[in-house]
Amino acid sequence: MRSELVSIRDYFKPIPTMNTAQVRELLSSKDPSAYNLIDVRQPGEYERAHLPGARLMPVAELLSLAGQLDPNKPTLAY
């Protein structure tokens, strides 16, 4: 019960954000291998436009696909 309460509380913690200028700085200054870049939208939206190098991981499948990523790298999702 205690661990369930802890994990439920986690869902209410705000996720840090980056504004577009910070994202631009990240993408231009870092090698793509230094971070995880994830597009959590649907395939049609991804096809129309996505950030270069972004991996498509629709939000409904995110947890099942997250194993493909290195959890120790900074991760940016949009």
Binding site: R41, L56, L63
Partner: protein, 185 residues
């Protein structure tokens, strides 16, 4: 969700992609590798990359004759040289891996982004320089996207290193094209 899955440092982009006014790639997650089976070998991906560089080299070579702006002509001359260097590096790697030349069996009239060279040259005829640069930026952005993904495929170290270098080169090309576009607008 990712934080609870053990990811230590997670951020979301404010405003999502709608807020983004920078470079964006297009196409399906495997666009650019779609002409190959899902499990394309590193040799097949080298062939694809080589042929796309070849297409781009041909396009930029022909494009120079259609442009008047001296600075633009010079930039595309430099890009032609860069594409040749990329091809040379890809061909070397291909030979080392398989003892075969790169690009065999790949369609000829194709360039980065999967567009045909002849269609692209027809399109640019009569267009303003800014529109031509926009096209080149779109092509290079898709290439940058493709090389990042190739580097993520988990091949041997040499291949990953080469795809990573090519991604960095495409990023540099983008910087130069965007810089020229900013000056000419």
């Amino acid at each position: 969700m990712l934080a609870t899955a053990g990811f230590k440092e997670v951020y979301s982009m404010e405003g999502g992609l709608r807020a983004w006014d920078g470079l964006a790639a297009t196409g399906e997650p495997d666009a650019g590798t779609a002409r190959f089976p899902e499990k394309a070998s590193v040799a097949e991906l080298i062939d694809l990359a080589w042929s796309l560089e070849e297409g781009n080299r041909k396009f930029y070579t022909e494009l120079q004759a259609l442009l008047i702006d001296r600075e633009a002509v010079e930039l595309f001359q430099n890009l032609v040289l860069a594409e040749e260097h990329h091809q040379s590096a890809l061909a070397d790697l291909r030979l080392k891996l398989t003892n075969r030349a790169a690009g065999a069996g790949i369609p000829e009239d194709v360039m980065e982004g999967g567009m045909s060279i002849s269609a692209a040259l027809d399109w640019v005829s009569g267009k303003k320089l800014a529109e031509v640069l926009d096209l080149a930026i779109a092509l290079e952005t898709n290439s940058y996207d493709l090389y990042i993904k190739m580097g993520q495929r988990g091949f041997d170290l040499k291949s990953k290193e080469l795809f990573s270098l090519l991604a960095a080169a495409e990023k540099e090309h983008l910087g130069r094209l965007v810089g020229l576009l900013d000056r000419k607008l």
